[in-house]
């Protein structure tokens, strides 16, 4: 018991050991004027007081039971009251007979502690102590004739003893009461803090010096699909940071731990499914979190804003390119017209010269290529205006295939349709859809070695809750490299040695204009493009 008590005392008075408490008790003895004579006086009246104690204690508990405020802390019924009576008797006898050493002080401390623990209101604790004091003095006064010292001396000594006892008891009571209040306040503020952190639509992470996650707010689930439990204790860089950003983030964590806060840095975070979200981070050092220096990092998701910004930049860039291309195309067409005019006139001159005519035809071929190139670049730079009508997708891709006949000549290339859908009609721009399929099929033809097998599959899907058709175009070529997968829809990206690198960008433009999506499939063999086009039925 004593040990537990000491343990508690240390917890309560972190600045005060049992020895310190005793030192203070001795000091207080001087303060109230306690002397050895008082100790002798008290011991001298011990038996007198003890004789009257049972009545006094019975009266004390009878009074106690008249007050709801005191009764509510007595939960063990009459059995408990009997125990309490015994310990009160023991305490008072102890006070009259004990050595006033450090153990004595500790026992008094324990009494105060116990009263605070059971939750007795301090006003009632004081009133109870006052009643006890009066009771004991009354007892002594009534039996004054049996005392070895004059009654005033006896009462003075008794008062000094009880003053000192009560001071310790109240001190312990206060300490425990304050401690309990502090704990409760801590808990309340922790609850408030938790509520704030956990309700915030931002990611709060605490990372230790080894970059392990000490704490992670529940928003992580919404943001990444990871559960908090599976992340705590794991390496922050490995589990949440996108590979490309690891070096930068590690550097910033290092700097933050060194005391230079991170402000407004943008880094992607890795989701469970491997995709990324962009966060803007603020971080600062916590000198002591769970016993060691850590970094508190708060990340706000700004992926949508960033995407919008990128789209805007792309649109601006394309508008710039568009203007340039328009000018270039205009001038080039004038020049092409002059080449055309002159070569046709030359044709009249050399009509009988076979070799010259052959050269002229080759010139014509080069000129046609240049013209097609200009058409392609221009069609990408200009905003798409759809001329919508009911359009059968299968007839569109068949027409595209037909247009590629010259590319297929002399090759073993087959278009395999696996269309289980009866109705593949959408309301769209037929010319543009033919262009879309032509670009896709042309890519496959260029990428695949013979025998080329291009498959087209269709199925009914919904897109943004509207009826749509999904068309998958796949080939038996080498497929796309990871790099190519990243950039395949970027303008001017190409794996071919010839071409503008606009084919897939235009394909995406056309699909976008139709309110659909185009994405790469996940096939292991060959390339697969999956196009979703809303039917847009009138």
């Amino acid at each position: 018991m004593e040990q537990i008590f000491y343990g508690f005392q240390v917890r309560t008075y972190t600045h005060m050991s049992a020895a310190d408490l005793f030192t203070r008790y001795c000091d207080l003895q001087h303060y109230v004027g306690w002397t050895d004579q008082d100790a002798a006086n008290v011991r001298g009246m011990a038996s007198v007081v003890e004789r009257g104690l049972p009545d006094l204690i019975a009266d004390f508990y009878a009074e106690l039971q008249r007050h709801p405020e005191t009764m509510q802390v007595i939960t063990g019924g009459s059995a408990q009251i009997e125990r309490l009576k015994a310990s009160l008797q023991h305490w008072l006898s102890d006070s009259l007979r004990a050595e006033f050493d450090s153990d004595y002080v500790a026992r008094r401390w324990k009494i105060g502690l116990r009263h605070a623990e059971i939750g007795l209101h301090p006003a009632y604790a004081s009133a109870a102590l006052a009643r006890l004091r009066n009771g004991v003095i009354d007892l002594v006064a009534r039996r004054g004739d049996g005392l070895a010292v004059p009654l005033p001396d006896a009462i003075r000594s008794l008062n000094r003893l009880l003053d000192l006892d009560f001071v310790i008891i109240q001190d312990a009571y206060e300490a425990e009461h304050v401690h309990k209040e502090t704990l409760a306040e801590h808990e309340r503020s922790e609850v408030k803090f938790r509520m704030l952190v956990e309700a915030a639509a931002c990611l709060v992470v605490i990372v230790n010096e080894q970059y392990r996650i000490e704490y992670c707010g529940p928003y992580i689930r919404e943001l990444t699909g990871h559960d908090v439990d599976e992340l705590v204790g794991r390496d922050f860089l490995e589990s949440l940071v996108a590979p490309d950003a690891k070096a930068d983030v590690a550097e910033e964590l290092h700097a933050t731990l060194a005391g230079n806060p991170t402000r407004g840095r943008e880094h992607p975070i890795l989701r469970r499914d491997g995709s990324q979200r962009w966060l803007v981070w603020n971080a600062q050092r916590l000198d002591n979190f769970a016993g060691s220096p850590s970094v508190l990092a708060v990340g706000h998701d700004f992926t949508e804003r960033r995407d919008a910004h990128e789209r805007m930049l792309r649109a601006e860039r394309l508008a710039g390119i568009g203007q340039m291309i328009t000018g270039l195309a205009h001038e080039s067409r004038n020049a092409l017209q002059r080449i055309q005019s002159c070569s046709e006139m030359l044709e009249l001159e050399v009509a009988h010269n076979e070799e010259a005519m052959r050269l002229l035809h080759r010139l014509q071929g080069a000129q046609d290529d240049l013209r097609r190139l200009l058409d392609e670049v221009r069609s990408f730079a200009a905003p798409i205006q759809l001329e919508r009508a009911t359009c059968d997708l299968s007839s569109a891709w068949r027409e595209s295939w037909q247009l590629l006949e010259t590319m297929c000549r002399g090759r073993d290339a087959v278009l395999v349709e696996q269309v289980e859908l009866d109705d593949v009609r959408i309301c769209g721009d037929r010319f543009r859809l033919v262009q879309l399929f032509r670009n896709l099929l042309e890519n496959s033809l260029a990428a695949c070695c013979d025998p080329v097998r291009i498959g087209i599959r269709c199925r009914k899907v919904t897109h943004n809750e509207l009826p749509a058709v999904e068309v998958s175009v796949c080939d038996n070529g080498p497929g796309l490299s990871p790099d190519a997968r990243q950039s395949v829809f970027e303008p001017f990206f190409t794996t071919k040695t010839k071409g503008t690198g606009l084919g897939m960008a235009i394909a995406r433009q056309i699909v976008d204009a139709h309110g659909g999506t185009i994405a790469l499939g996940a096939t292991a063999k060959g390339a697969e493009f999956i196009i979703t086009l809303p039917r847009n039925e009138p």
Partner: protein, 129 residues
């Protein structure tokens, strides 16, 4: 060849002017004059009253479109616009049933021949493309 047309041409590029001057007779038509800009074209049409006009759309000074508005007010004349834009101006021209075709540069002899045939065979069909 059966119905050779009297054609007025406007084009600011000398190479292309030469081309029309040489190629149109090859297709069986007469070139009644070659203008280098819109003003010259208007004058030319007033003098020669051609059956058909072939004009570049963009020329210094008065451009092809403006010139044709003037010409159409005086005399409805079918017209082939030649433009360096891939999407030429919509034919808001003549209106009153005057044939009009827009071609995008570079224009080949075949395309030219086709356009002329189209205009001669359908005088009253209004706008054509």
């Amino acid at each position: 060849m059966k119905c050779g047309m009297r054609i007025a041409v406007a084009e600011d590029e000398p190479d292309v002017r030469d081309y029309f001057r040489r190629m149109l007779p090859q297709l069986g038509h007469d070139v009644v004059g070659v203008a280098a800009d819109g003003c010259e074209l208007v004058e030319l049409c007033r003098k020669q009253l051609p059956d058909l006009v072939i004009t570049d759309l963009r020329m210094p000074g008065m451009d092809g479109d403006q010139a044709m508005r003037v010409i159409w007010k005086e005399r409805p004349t079918p017209c082939i616009f030649i433009s360096a834009y891939s999407k030429p101006m919509p034919a808001e021209n003549g209106g009153d049933g005057i044939g009009c075709v827009c071609l995008t540069k570079p224009v080949s002899r075949d395309e030219l021949e086709k356009a002329i045939k189209q205009l001669t065979s359908s005088h009253a069909d209004g706008d054509q493309r």
